[in-house]
């Protein structure tokens, strides 16, 4: 059981990261969701964090060059 008093939004802010990482216990998750259901202040910030993570992830992805792929394949052990 986690206490959301005396500052429920501060507690909800603390749980933001493990909540989105799906690393909270069932009880903690349910408690956070109860608060989010009734608090648009926190709900907007959770939604923003979710979008932000997706955005950073997409921005950070850089694909491997075909040249590197060939170099890695060339490292394979030759078949005798």
């Amino acid at each position: 059981m986690i206490g959301f008093d005396p500052d429920p939004c501060a507690k909800c802010e603390e749980l933001l990261q493990p909540y989105l990482d799906r690393e909270l216990s069932d009880a903690e998750r349910a408690e956070a969701e109860r608060h989010l259901d009734g608090c648009s202040y926190c709900r907007k910030r959770y939604r923003f964090e979710e979008q932000l993570r997706r955005f950073v992830r997409q921005a950070a992805v850089e694909e491997m060059s075909p040249d590197l792929k060939s170099k890695l394949a060339a490292l394979r052990t030759p078949l005798v």
């Binding site: 990261q17 990482d21 932000l52 955005f55 850089e62 590197l68």
Partner: protein, 194 residues
Amino acid sequence: MSEATPEAEPRKLAEEARDRVRFEEEALELADQVYRVARRLVSTREEAEDLMQETYARAFRSWRSYQPGTNLRAWLLRILTNLNIDRGRRIQRSPDQQPLEEGDYFLYNKLEEAGDSDEERVDRRLSQDDAVAALSEVPHDFRDVIVLVDIGDFSYADAAQILDIPIGTVMSRLHRGRRILKKELAERTVGSSV
């Protein structure tokens, strides 16, 4: 007493060759995913490419130490992160333990103060270049866990195993690293008043 038949040795060699080929194929299939993580663990594309080649050369040499059925991507990344440290590319420093005043709502609050409160349109307010630059400013110890969890999709437990640190350290670095990342993003989007 066991009797080795004349055919036993060639058969054994053939089986081992087959296992090795299978291992190398599976490792190469994962190269795109491994590279995405590698690219953000180091500063430049050239460094990431060198690191990938060293990683795969070592993995192919040490393939016998991989246990089939376990997480091959995590195994490859463990080699990669160790090489990254061994080569001295990282300036090792103790994690910054200064208290951070910025909480997890910090960036949203800054954007809201600046008059932009649409939580759905992150892409309108942040540029991809800002995101990459902000990530590169996060100190290595914190960035490693962000990259493994947020880009590599690893669980806390996998990240702990790859980096050989306790899971509690993964959690605390992730927590702090993401806050640093948001502070960096805020500086780039809202300005130096942050």
